[in-house]
């Protein structure tokens, strides 16, 4: 664990290794505030540039204003749910890779989200490292170097 931390310090996962000063822009959408806030802190600590929204509608508003490299959307939200939000995101920014969070063990709904164009999904509770690697691969896909 200590070695991972050292690697993280030297190469913060929030920064594009090719352009060391460019932070990866993340959009986090989840109605569980305690969760989102903590996650934002942890990601910011790793040099990500993170915007947060506590609802699908909030996420859409943020996406209208700015561009993002990766979006992470929770599947189960009280007003506009993850799938609906995903659909809107796909229309607004077809190139934006979206990772879906789900607390529901049902891989069926997660797989459904893949059918709607989600990049990948994660079952809550997840390992933080898994999240980082998924964000990383999402960031790199579609990018031509």
């Amino acid at each position: 664990m200590a070695t991972t931390r050292n690697v993280e310090k030297e190469h913060p996962p929030g920064l594009d290794p090719r352009w060391p000063y460019r932070a990866i822009r993340l959009l986090l959408v989840d109605d569980e505030a305690a969760f989102v806030d903590t996650l934002v802190n942890r990601l910011k600590k790793r040099k990500f540039k993170v915007s947060r929204a506590y609802s699908g509608e909030g996420g859409i508003r943020l996406l209208k204003k700015a561009d993002y490299d990766v979006a992470v959307v929770d599947l189960k939200m009280s007003s506009l749910d993850g799938l609906a939000t995903l659909k809107v995101f796909r229309e607004m920014a077809p190139d934006l890779p979206v990772i879906i969070f789900t607390g529901h063990g049902s891989e069926k709904s997660a797989e459904e989200s893949l059918a709607y164009g989600a990049f990948d999904y994660l079952l809550k509770p997840y390992e933080f490292d898994d999240l980082l690697s998924k964000i990383k691969s999402a960031y790199h896909t579609g990018k031509e170097y």
Partner: protein
């Protein structure tokens, strides 16, 4: 839902009644009609035959009487009074007659108008006998010819007299002949029909003119009964009547002769006369009763078998319903646990993140100045570990509930068993039971209903754990590919099942668990589920030897060979 014995009994009774009614009613009706028709026509034929017989016989007897009369008339007409009054001449005439008609004429006599016998030829001493007061003489002197009834007369033996009146000058005289009773009797009795059929003659006074029959009812009223009451049918008329008395029923046929003075009676016991009819009736009744017996037995057997089948089917339906309820319960538990798991997942995720965040923050602290930083780190890691444990549990629950659908689909049996082991592991750990897996890789997928198979394995594993609850022990679960089927073996090191119980364990409602603990349905449901999949389940056990359940599940698309269940 359970079929009640009372219901079964009434059902059986209804079925038996219906079958008997449908089968027996036409049989009886048909038999009755045919027998009645047969009886009617048989009696008609019999009566016609008897009538004819008796008429013919009657004519014969009449002819005989007339013949005797004519003979005497001829003798009387052929000779003069003077010739005949000579005793030697009369003796000679008697001798001739006896030569000509042996056994008929007993004696001859010439009787004067005043009733005195003038001349006599015969074996008795009847010369000068006085007949003036005899009934026959009164009638004979009044008529041209006369045949008397049978009477004892002066000689004290039954006989009858044939008399012809002739005139000599202005005086009448009579030539009379005594007819041997025996020969006449023989002639009358000559007609025998069957064993008891006999013929006799009675006169107007109901006196027997021939030897009487032994068992004749109405001895003293026959003529009255047959002729006077019904009107004289004339010499040709046959009278048929059945009369019963203490000795049984008798059939009578009668015909009058001698101008209605005599009645020829044919008498036969009913049982004898209608022997053929009674025999047919007996045979018919025998066949009918055998048939009835057969029908009743068949009705009983069929209805019992039907009712047994119905109650069996009811029982099966009952069992299925209970199984549906049990499966439903499991599905509800699955759904419920899915909801709980989902609700828990979010807080656990937050816990994970918080712990991670604290670890992140601790990295910024100076280990030199922060004395307990290592302890903090260890605790946070432990928190994360416990959160991961929660996650494992919730994922198992979710995995379980995901598979509680009730439609068959291809399933990896190993995964399914893993899920169940995951659910039972806590229960097992508390009982001190170790579950050991020995799974064969590359098993073919089986087309089964996951929730049902879960139920099977959950039942078997829970039973095994329950059996070893106090002692602890070991459960071995092995799977193996047997080409046409997959073999699953679940063995435990528990106390085993006594031989006496082994035969009953798959029966519904059989349980050895304390009241309220087990429904007694678990293993019966297991067997139902597996049998429906075309598989087999058997058990091998003995006291102190542990228990092994062996399940064979056919691989999709392959027939399952018939194999002996108990090895």
């Amino acid at each position: 839902m359970a079929s009640k014995p009372g219901y079964n009994v009434s059902l059986q009774r209804k079925m038996v009644t219906a079958i008997l009614l449908v089968a027996l009613a036409p049989l009886f009706l048909l038999c009755g009609v045919i027998l009645h028709q047969f009886d009617h026509s048989f009696r008609e034929k019999m009566n016609a035959h008897l009538g004819e017989l008796i008429q013919k016989h009657c004519r014969d007897i009449d002819n005989f009487l007339n013949e005797q009369l004519n003979i005497i008339r001829y003798v009387a007409a052929s000779y003069t009074f003077d010739q005949l009054r000579d005793e030697a001449f009369l003796q000679h005439q008697l001798y001739r007659l006896q030569q000509q008609f042996p056994g008929v004429f007993e004696d001859l006599g010439i009787v004067e108008e005043n009733g005195f016998q003038l001349t006599y030829a015969g074996p008795l001493e009847l010369l000068k006998a006085d007949y003036s007061r005899s009934g026959w003489f009164q009638k004979a002197i009044a008529n041209q010819t006369f045949i008397s009834d049978v009477f004892l007369g002066l000689r004290g033996r039954p006989h009858f007299i044939v008399a012809v009146r002739q005139a000599h000058g202005n005086r009448h005289w009579i030539l009379r002949a005594t007819i041997d009773f025996r020969s006449f009797n023989t002639l009358v009795e000559n007609l025998r029909v069957g064993k008891t059929g006999m013929v006799f003659i009675v006169n107007r006074e109901n006196e027997f003119q021939t030897r009487p029959a032994k068992n004749t009812p109405l001895q003293h009223t026959l003529y009255t009964k047959l002729v006077s009451d019904q009107g004289d049918p004339g010499p040709g008329g046959g009278i048929i009547e059945e009369i019963s008395d203490s000795t049984g029923k008798h059939i009578f046929a009668g015909a009058t002769l001698k101008n209605g003075d005599w009645l020829l009676v044919f008498q036969q016991d009913n049982t004898d006369a209608y022997r053929d009819l009674y025999f047919s009736v007996k045979i018919a009744i025998l066949i009918l009763s055998l048939g009835c017996f057969g029908i009743v037995i068949t009705a009983l057997i069929i209805s019992r078998r039907f009712v047994f089948r119905i109650s069996e089917a009811d029982h099966e339906v009952d069992l299925m319903n209970r199984q549906v309820i049990e499966t439903g319960k499991l599905a509800v538990i699955g759904e419920l646990s899915a909801g709980i798991a989902h609700e828990i997942n979010n807080p656990v995720a937050i816990m994970m993140e918080k712990a991670g965040w604290m670890q992140d923050l601790l990295e910024d602290e100076n280990p030199e100045t922060m004395k307990n930083i290592e302890e903090f780190n260890l605790s946070l890691e432990e928190i994360k570990n416990q959160a991961r444990r929660c996650k494992d549990i919730t994922h198992k629950l979710l995995g379980f509930s995901r598979k509680t659908d009730s439609h068959p689909r291809p399933v990896h049996i190993n995964t399914l068993i893993e899920d169940i082991i995951g659910l039972s592991s806590d229960h097992a750990r508390h009982a001190g039971v170790i579950i050991h897996k020995n799974f064969s890789d590359n098993l073919p997928e089986l087309n089964v209903t996951p929730s049902e198979m879960q139920q099977v394995f959950l039942n078997l594993i829970n039973n095994a754990v329950d059996a070893m609850e106090k002692t602890g022990g070991r459960i071995d679960i092995a799977t193996a590919d047997r080409k046409d089927h997959v073999l699953v073996e679940i063995s435990d090191s528990g106390p085993g099942i006594p031989q006496s119980n082994l035969g009953h364990i798959f029966e519904p409602f059989y349980t050895t668990k304390p009241a309220g603990k087990g429904t007694g349905l678990g293993l019966s449901i297991c067997r139902t589920i597996i049998t429906r999949l075309g598989g087999e389940i058997d058990v091998k056990s003995g006291t102190g030897q542990g228990t092994t359940f062996r399940i064979r599940l056919p691989v999709q698309g392959q027939g399952f060979p018939e194999a002996p269940i108990v090895k």
